[in-house]
Symmetry: C2
Subunit: 136 residues, 2 copies
């Protein structure tokens, strides 16, 4: 069919600012958070632009997106290879984890039921070592 249509990503102060900020942060942050942080820094960027930049980064595979229980999207700078996340419910600390067994399991189970073109999403939530003592 036609070319993959690469829409010529321009480099602007705003997009650089968003990516730079994400590089300096550890856990998942919402777009609203990032917008507020940029404003605090004096590196003001419009809210709509933050959303657009994040979408572009997600499309390029530079950033991962996660939906919280309330449906709000959270973003994080991530490695481009396939992986999953181990997220601390308390402090937001995130560890990237790979898992060949799960990949295989998902593919096998899907095949058994006649499913093709399989994708999966897996996230693990818990309380990290630093936050556990504080609990209770």
């Amino acid at each position: 069919m036609s070319a993959p249509e690469v829409p010529v990503r321009r480099q602007t102060r705003q997009r650089t600012a968003v990516l730079t900020l994400l590089d300096q942060l550890d856990g998942f942050r919402t777009a609203q958070d990032l917008h507020a942080l940029l404003r605090e820094r004096g590196d003001a960027v419009g809210l709509a632009t933050v959303y657009r930049a994040l979408q572009a980064l997600v499309d390029d595979g530079l950033v991962d997106v996660l939906r919280g229980e309330d449906g709000e999207a959270a973003y994080r700078r991530c490695s481009p290879v396939h992986h999953h996340h181990l997220v601390c419910r308390s402090c937001g600390l995130t560890v990237e984890v790979a898992d060949p067994p799960v990949e295989r399991w998902a593919a096998r189970v899907a095949a058994e039921h006649g499913f093709a073109d399989v994708q999966h999403q897996l996230e693990v939530f818990g309380t990290c070592g630093r936050c556990t003592p504080a609990q209770r």
Copy 2:
């Protein structure tokens, strides 16, 4: 501590209607969908009530909730035992699947990183056998 506070779930026409409808449906449906379906049936229920009924059902473990990529919540009548879903992207057909290996994997990986009180969410998406030929 205090009693678990079980808030006396009353049986009303509306709640019965929501649960009955879910029993007759296969895949995940949004609250808006369910509301529209009930109205078509002549079994009209207020939108706010649909949301309240669904929340109660989720709390009771009778219904599972899933967040789509757009953040909209989708609900489905499900068995109360722990399981994951194999969902068809095209027709919404859903299969419940259990997976002891993944449970163990998640627990082990979390422990290795010092995480406690672990939960995980895993969903597999694909195209079911009936929908695959239609694609492309």
